[in-house]
């Protein structure tokens, strides 16, 4: 087992460009994901808005000035309502503010939105409510009728979330890619030779799983190092629990990757299959976007993925600093998946060798 893992390790280490990409890409993507999606999930939406004031009253001019001061360059004025609609439809603006004159009545404020931009429209609408009320000569509705109280740890939860989410996604990508080396070894007869020398396939597959797990741990470590500044201060037990989680994520990825590649006859089969599976698991499991943003059915379906379990465990031990029963359950799921994958790969490889 160690001989095979060592051979794979030396092969990995000698491909310096591959090493750099394997260990550098995950932190880079993490930083991007945390920056791009993290702000959105925190409610910091930088909405671009176009505005057209068709009423042209002193009051609407004052409203436009107030908005311009508040939004800065994100607010752009246009000369007619048609141009405003075009800007919203073609995506140059996330929403539009149209102020219409109304004979004998106060000007009417309308938020112009396009399909798929409901969140932007709702945010603008909330911001305009007091101004629209003022234009209408009404008293602005109270803004704090319902209080919000934040509980739990303070800090950049999204940065912590995406550290787990992105690392899991990359560990699975790397495991799938790495496991394809086994297809080459099967085709060349190397696998048969090694199995003969050692007296069976089990130690050979275990060696591969061991090395893929090590690569997974290295990738997870690279991502968490990049995220370190944004993580809460970790107690030693949290760091240890995070490390255990990384090992089990690597093992589950290795098991699944070996099972999938064992089911394939060639790289040509394995590449699209593994890419599809990795993307599907990442999407369902919350590696791309938090699962609380998903419809309920997909949120429930996410539990069939190791990603969801792993992210939940990372959140528990790294962010919430709690060692709940869910952590142990998550570890058990990840370990069981890895072991099952390894077992399936052994059965499939044995069956294939006998064909």
């Amino acid at each position: 087992m160690m001989a095979v893992a060592g051979a794979w390790a030396r092969g990995f280490w000698r491909d310096r460009a591959g090493v750099v990409l394997t260990l550098l890409l995950p932190p880079l993507v993490y930083l991007l994901f945390a920056a791009i999606f993290g702000a959105g999930a925190r409610g910091e939406i930088d909405t671009a808005v176009v505005m057209h004031d068709a009423a042209r009253t002193p009051a609407t001019a004052a409203m436009q000035d107030a908005l311009a001061r508040d939004m800065g360059a994100r607010l752009r004025t246009v000369e007619d309502a048609g141009e405003l609609e075009r800007a919203v439809i073609d995506g140059r603006a996330d929403a539009g503010i149209l102020i219409r004159p109304s004979a004998g009545r106060p000007p009417q404020v309308v938020v112009v939105s396009a399909a798929g931009r409901d969140v932007a429209a709702a945010a603008i609408q909330a911001r305009l409510e007091p101004m629209a009320a003022a234009l209408a000569g009404q008293v602005a509705p109270p803004t704090a009728r319902v209080a919000t109280v934040q509980v739990g740890p303070r800090g950049d939860v999204q940065a912590a979330y995406y550290a787990g989410a992105v690392s899991v996604m990359f560990v699975f990508f790397a495991a799938m890619h790495g496991a394809m080396g086994g297809l080459d070894e099967r085709r060349s007869g190397l696998q048969a030779r090694l199995a003969l020398a050692r007296g069976g396939l089990a130690p050979i597959l275990a060696g591969r799983a061991g090395w893929l797990t090590v690569v997974g741990v290295m990738q997870s470590a690279a991502v968490f190092v990049a995220a370190w500044a944004k993580l809460p201060d970790l107690a030693p037990w949290q760091a240890a629990a995070g490390a255990v989680t990384a090992v089990l994520v690597g093992f589950s990825a290795a098991g699944l990757a070996l099972a999938l590649t064992a089911a394939c006859r060639s790289r040509e089969q394995a590449q699209p299959l593994t890419t599809f599976v990795v993307l599907l698991l990442a999407a369902l499991g919350g590696s791309m976007a938090p699962r609380f943003l998903m419809p309920e059915a997909f949120r429930a379906l996410g539990w069939i993925t190791p990603h969801a379990w792993a992210i939940e465990v990372y959140q528990a031990v790294v962010w919430r600093a709690e060692f709940a029963p869910g952590v142990v359950a998550g570890w058990a799921v990840l370990a069981a998946l890895g072991a099952a994958g390894l077992g399936v790969s052994l059965v499939l490889e044995r069956r294939r060798a006998a064909r």
């Binding site: 160690m2 030396r10 060349s188 007869g189 030779r193």
Partner: protein, 305 residues
């Protein structure tokens, strides 16, 4: 061969195949320790299936397979597959070391065992270069070295000379001879008739999963052809009608490509002289030679069909 030494491999009335389709039926073969036994046969004859059965990679449905005295572990089987079964990023030395570790060669003995295996195939000069940078011939040497490092009781070499030059072929032949001299048995699968003639003690001719004949190469050739010689006429274009009539009357038969005419006979030289003028007129060449192992395989396979 001493009768007290157990055979390196025994296949006794074996039936094996793929997906319910039998390839070997009632197949028996005994490979003695200290001999190179070459399996010959056309593509699809079942040679690789025999190798897979011998390795234990393909389970048998019926019959018995024994390696050595029956107590040998599979680790005592050295396999040199047809392709370059090596880690491409590692050097030949590192590849051989990995196999040595897996074979259970003790740490203290490992370096000597690796050096010995590399020396046997003359792989030393390229032993520390990554396999991916080596030519086909050096990869073949490294491939065989990896199979030899565990000092196998049974060595299975599948097409070890594919794509190698004459010099490398000689080195590989010497490596196999040296290995069996040390007491191993070698099952050689090859289409290289010259290599087999130079290396094998016995050959077995296989067709459709059955052993048609086995024995020392020269004995089998003599048994099949006696003193007959093979007369062949090679043309650059199909023979004219008149020439074809001459060839047919002289007992020659046309090959599938319509450019070669052949006849196996005791008076091949006389027939060649008789047809010389006709062949000249057709712009062809006449050759007379002793039949080789390729001819033996074709002869036996044709006779059995």
């Amino acid at each position: 061969m001493g009768s007290s030494v157990a055979p390196a491999l025994v296949l006794d009335r074996v039936e094996a195949g793929y997906d319910g389709r039998p390839v070997l039926r009632d197949f028996s073969l005994t490979l003695n320790a200290g001999e190179v036994y070459a399996l010959l046969g056309a593509n699809g004859a079942g040679k690789s299936t025999v190798a897979r059965v011998a390795c234990g990679l393909l389970p048998v449905r019926r019959g018995r397979v024994a390696v050595g005295d029956g107590t040998q572990t599979r680790a005592r089987i050295g396999l040199a597959p047809q392709d370059s079964a090596l880690f491409p990023a590692l050097s030949p030395r590192e590849n051989v070391e990995v196999t040595a570790r897996l074979c259970g060669v003790a740490r203290d003995d490992r370096r000597a065992a690796v050096d010995r295996a590399l020396d046997l195939t003359g792989c030393g000069p390229r032993a520390d270069q990554p396999v991916r940078t080596l030519s086909g011939g050096w990869r073949r040497r490294a491939n065989l070295s990896a199979a030899l490092v565990g000092q196998p009781r049974l060595l299975i070499a599948d097409e070890p000379t594919e794509g190698v030059d004459a010099g490398t072929r000689g080195v590989l032949s010497a490596a196999l001879r040296e290995t069996v001299k040390a007491g191993a048995g070698c099952l050689l699968i090859s289409h290289d008739a010259v290599f087999v003639s130079d290396t094998a003690d016995r050959i077995g001719v296989l067709a459709r999963g059955r052993l048609l004949a086995e024995g020392p190469p020269n004995a089998l050739l003599h048994q099949a052809f006696g003193a007959a010689r093979l007369l062949s006429i090679r043309l650059t274009r199909p023979a004219s009608e008149a020439a074809a009539q001459w060839f047919a009357q002289a007992g020659l038969t046309q090959a599938d490509d319509r450019l070669e005419w052949r006849r196996l006979c005791d008076d091949a030289l006389a027939v060649a002289q008789m047809l010389a003028a006709v062949v000249d007129g057709e712009g062809g060449e006449v050759a007379v030679r002793r039949p080789g192992l390729d001819d033996l395989v074709a002869h036996l396979s044709g006779a059995s069909s």
